[in-house]
């Protein structure tokens, strides 16, 4: 199960498992985001490389003329995936 929505804070709340079967849903949501946003991963358990592709595509678009995405509350496994992917250098990531 994967869910993505705007929270009361205005942050993008991601929940569940972002795998290859769910990345179209995530991409459709992120394509409608027109400005820099914070993604809250507190309830995101899992992300695969397909999910990383959604983040990267969105970041390339938003960061071309602005601050881009900030990602907060990342679990340790996803932190490892970000580190192996070099995402620490291209996203603003806060534990």
């Amino acid at each position: 199960m994967f869910d993505i929505s705007f929270g009361d804070s205005g942050h993008v709340m991601c929940k569940g498992r972002l795998d290859a079967a769910q990345c179209e849903k995530a991409q459709d949501f992120m394509d409608a985001v027109a400005e820099a946003k914070t993604l809250d991963f507190a309830e995101l358990e899992y992300i695969s490389s397909a999910g990383l592709g959604v983040l990267l595509k969105t970041q390339k678009r938003l960061a071309a003329d602005g601050p881009g995405l900030k990602i907060i509350n990342v679990n340790n496994h996803i932190k490892d995936v970000f580190r192996y992917s070099g995402f620490n250098a291209i996203f603003d990531i806060e534990a």
Binding site: R17, D19, A20, A21, Y46, S48, S49, A50, L52, G53, L56, K57, Q59, K60, A63, A64, H77, D80, V81, Y84, S85, G86, A89, I90
Partner: protein, 133 residues
Amino acid sequence: MELEIVRRIDSLKDIYDFIESFFESNGTEEPVRYPVHFVVEELFTNMVKYNPGNMNTILLDIDLEGDGVKVMITDYDVDDFDVSKKRDVDVSAPLQERKVGGLGLHLIRHMVDKLDYHYEDRQSRITFTKGPG
């Protein structure tokens, strides 16, 4: 424990349930779980993506090995593609030069203890092990 998987992305739910069932039955440690899910998804989605016309099911086999697990994925009537070869992915490239896609096979090398590829008679078998350390 074996699972025959229908070759479509929607099968990821069946794969997840199967692996979780194995983990629950065997009390598999938490540090093993994420990498196994991740690596199986990457390998399976590659098989689906690069052989879309192939109607054969894919066989997933998971067993205990020491404190961790050994996973085998077998695909039938496919071309030779060695997933264990090192892939050149520049993870230090600036954002606008980064490519969307291509990270999966790079990442799995970080997540397993051992990764083997065997190809014979148009059958590919990928074996990996992952322990809690």
